[in-house]
Amino acid sequence: MSEAIHHDRVLVRVEGLVKRFPKFEKRTVTAFLNRKKHMVSVLNRVNLTIQKGEALGLIGESGCGKTTFGRCILRLTDSTEGRIYFEGRDLLTLKPGEMRRMRKKMQMIFQDPYAALNPQMKVREILSEAVQVGTRLGQPNEQDNSRACDVASKLLDLIASVNLQKDKLDQYPSELSGGERRRVGIARILAVEPTFIVADEPLASLDASIRSQILNLLVDLKTEHGQTFLYISHDIGAVRHICDRVAVMYLGNIVEIASRQDVRPERCLHPYTARLLGASAYLSVGGPPLEPDPEDDGEVEVPEEGDPGCSYRFRCSRFKSLGKPNLCAEEKPKLETPPTPYGDTHRVACHYPNDENFSEI
């Protein structure tokens, strides 16, 4: 059933994360000078908590900011505002040397497996570099005491743990297939022995048969090695397979957090979640048919910067069916637990979430 959040097992805590990008379309001098005013908030005060050993899924459409969120947690991109606590320490206060040592514990599986590997290094070199970094960062003085044969035996262990054949070690990334590249990326991450892994679309651009293999590998990592995951994807089926809790993101806000069992069209509370799940169910075999919403086809309206109301209201058929209530336009809903029969940990950011006759697609 739904899982409570134990405060002593929290691994990652994000508070009020904001990330803004400058946006100026007109290439004039005045636009350049005023660029600080024209910013787009890709992440808009995001609060999230991840516990040790759990897999949290983050779903949403492309452009909603989920990849940016994952990268901000790992400090690959610097956020504009907000705090990130990892194992209780604020990452933004760390010095560069300490941050590098912290990086050993949190790693990322990148979306494009080919781009994440240096195309001019053989797989053996890529992995041994990772192993050496791992040993070096693990020592207090960053000394490298490993010998060549240690590294070599560790390489063989790594290759075996991701089910790759040994002869792949002497090949270049361009000679490997998509699934093999993905596995080399995962092996590289495992070489530094992290505790927290952000997986950014790990199953994208893979064939159906390979997808299952990689997903099984990730599930093994979670259940046998106790890794904590932040699983970013727009493939809801895979997310539900591996994750304990699922967060739904829309335009930089988290609109719903629910446990696996509750992420179904009939049990979700936010209208956007219902639409996502409905579309995904429609595109699977044996799913229900989809009634097209003529309002939602084509380009959708996005609220302007500084809009005080709910950002989803332009697409929300619930908003329309309730006669465009003013509350939605004036106040941004907060992520809180409504009174539902689902338990305390199902949270939603909507002014009118509960409805029995809720059929939103």
Binding site: R103, A115, A130, V133, V192
Partner: protein, 337 residues
Amino acid sequence: MKLALKGMRTLEMGGVSSAIKHSGVRRSVLAICLGLFIGSALLSTIPEAWGGGNPHHRYNERWGSISFAHPLGTDMNRKDVLTQLVFGAQTSLLMSTLSTFVFLLAGTVLGVLSGYCSGWPRNVVLAVFQVLQIFPILLLLLLSMIFIEMFFLGRMTNWNLVILMALFGVFSAPKLAEMIRGKILALKERTFIEAAVALGLSHRRIIGKHIIRSECLPIILVQGAYIMGQAIMVETTLTFLKLGVEYPVVSWGLMLRKMQDGMISWGMVIQQGFRYSWCWLRQTEDLNIIARDWNMGLADFHFQPLFPIMSIAGSAWLFLELARYFNDRLRLQDGRG
């Protein structure tokens, strides 16, 4: 069935693919050429390899013609031209190596710094680069020569040339620095660099290993080869202009200076070519006789200046082939080939 037999391409299934064979042969030819070049360059610095030789030894004949003892003849001071050429090559190669070294070091370091760092010092450095690139390098060298003479050294010592060649490397560095900076800016955004940062690698390692090794090495090689050829020309020019070494050090520039009176142009070469054919028709072999015959005022015609030019061109070609070879290999590694 009617088949158009003209223009048919046929494929035999199985067998060694031709592309791989072709590149193998090409590579061994290149390796042989490279070996020959390096070998001869090294040998040229050892006079004993050329059968001993004193560039200042005066022989019997002035303006001796080409013979076995004197493959390129002798000049107006009765010195052997080939020996002078070889000893001059020593000077040129030494100076140009120094220049190239300074160029590569300065260019790479400045390029990496300006690519990686941000802030106002970087902008100042870039502006300085732009200004430096406007002026012709020779002009800059002459100006700096004036300053050096005024403030540091007296006139005309042999060390002038060393300093000038080092300065030549420095003044040419902005071009390389900007190229490397461009590459770094492009690479910084690539995902595998981000992955290396996520892995916890220090910046030093990322730059050294990933950036320079992968993308910058071809640029460095090609620019280094180009600058080496240019440096040889610049050294010759400076010595010719009396800004470099003097007797008893041998240099090509000194040879040219001596030959000033006998300098010819390409047009004259062509005319001499015609004369060659005329003398063949006339069953005579002595060019000097022909020259006097026709009395064109070029009794002292010598082919000698051509030889250094042709050797420079040849070595430049070899260097560029080398650079292309490296580029091909790196491209194959990339998988983009």
